[in-house]
Symmetry: C3
Subunit: 210 residues, 3 copies
């Protein structure tokens, strides 16, 4: 049973990696980058956050050196992505944001889990979860010479922070790991989807504070 859960998490992790990589492909496409640029932006978005997390924790070699399937998923996504770059226009607009919300939820919980596994405190686990979720996108935006979107779009990182807190507190309260995982992923995913929906009717500047 536990092992089935781990397998589902593993497959979901690869799905999240592909979704994040595709968001890198789209940014690279907007900037008219070449095939290598597409690959770098895909990789940085998908595994950048987890890489920094592992380097900070001292979990080296980092995760994708130990398990190269992550790199294969990114390669395939980048190659397919260049042919499918027109796809988002033909999908309903909410498909990619919702897939992204799912990846964000999973990455947050996986990041927090890894920090706890390395003996970090709850506070650090929340930080590491958030970093796993958002740092890759931040590096992508810096390479694209943009101010990282996540620094000006509050509800994205906030969802990670709240989900990370729920996960950490649930574990402290001895909630079963699988239950804690699904509840906290639900918090991140639910907040993101709510934010995407809510965003439609609210002017963005109301999200900005000094």
């Amino acid at each position: 049973m536990q092992s089935l859960v781990d397998q589902i998490v593993y497959v979901s992790d690869m799905f999240g990696t592909a979704v994040f990589a595709f968001s890198g492909v789209l940014v690279a496409g907007r900037l008219r980058m070449d095939a290598f640029g597409v690959l770098v932006l895909a990789a940085v978005t998908a595994i950048g956050g987890g890489t920094i997390r592992d380097m900070i924790l001292g979990a080296t070699p980092v995760f994708w050196v130990r398990d190269t399937l992550y790199i294969w998923v990114i390669l395939v996504t980048a190659l397919l992505g260049m042919w499918l770059a027109g796809l988002p226009k033909r999908l309903p607009w909410y498909v990619l944001p919702v897939a992204d919300a799912f990846g964000l939820a999973l990455f947050t919980v996986i990041g927090a889990q890894k920090a706890l596994h390395f003996g970090a405190s709850g506070l650090i686990a929340v930080l590491m979860g958030t970093m796993t979720g958002v740092a890759g996108g931040m590096i992508r935006d810096v390479l694209a010479r943009e101010i990282p979107m996540v620094l000006q779009k509050e509800i994205y990182a906030t969802a990670c922070i709240l989900g990370g807190i729920v996960y950490t507190v649930a574990l402290e309260c001895e909630v079963e790991r699988v239950l804690a995982m699904f509840v906290s992923m639900g918090v991140v995913f639910g907040l993101r989807v709510a934010a995407i929906y809510w965003h439609l009717s609210l002017p963005t500047f109301s999200l900005q504070r000094g």
Copy 2:
């Protein structure tokens, strides 16, 4: 006695962390970032340099994973900072630069110390001291999509380099650690304060070379 010095250094380190974090808050405020952006820029400025230093030396998990007080100081500074962002206008103009000079001096010496503690040579200790002092501000500026100020304002990093050299040479000459610390911090602090004062009467382009 030694232990009292260590306690003073620790308290000063937290003060320096808060001052650097506040400088991140001010940049975030100028860019109309949201609360998460404020937090990221505060954290990156305050602990970015030390984090890179620790990752390069292999001192992992990095310092703030081992001692989460750094993160709490940043959280409180970021929260207070958003309410006090108007404060700098009401303080005499030199208060923040002088506090920053103090933080810079301390971070430089702490960084050099840690490198030596990990068996690095004097040259690397000077480098690591300088990196601890300036790299956080550099990442902050990159996230804010600016060319890092420190690369165009010579006397900032130069103060760290000279202070680091004084500290390393003093230790080689078997000067007592506490004395070496205060003398080299005095060099960094004195040079910065002199540079702030001197800046008033000198056109900036004279600081620039090809």
Copy 3:
């Protein structure tokens, strides 16, 4: 014999470090940076890629902490470079690109070699070779507030990837290390020199795909 090869590689490595550092000096000069900015851009270009590689592999302290000759080469290059910044105009135009191609070829092979030495798979070795070759220049460009050139100029990183693949496959096929090295360096160098020559007659936008 083997030891002579190692010595040639070591000397070439320092030559490549100087060439890459000089390319950082030139960018710093264009941006009117001060002496510290010149030093940072020189260092970041020359050792940035290898530093990230070592941090990802967990090969810490990173290489230039263990062997400070790299730092001395960068210091001397940065100092000389500020006086010789006008030099490129007086050299035939192809001297610097060809020297850069040599550095790129060597860095790629050294990076792949180090990854294999740390037990990484062939795929990761190709990645680490490419990263050693191009990541330093990418950080240099980010600090200079430019979209990294390498993301929009395909044949630069592509040369590293192909050279890395040749090197890794050759080793798998039990080709002697020295031979594998020279052949794969020839691939990177040859492709780059061909690309430089070819670039003359082809409009750049033909290198860009969506």
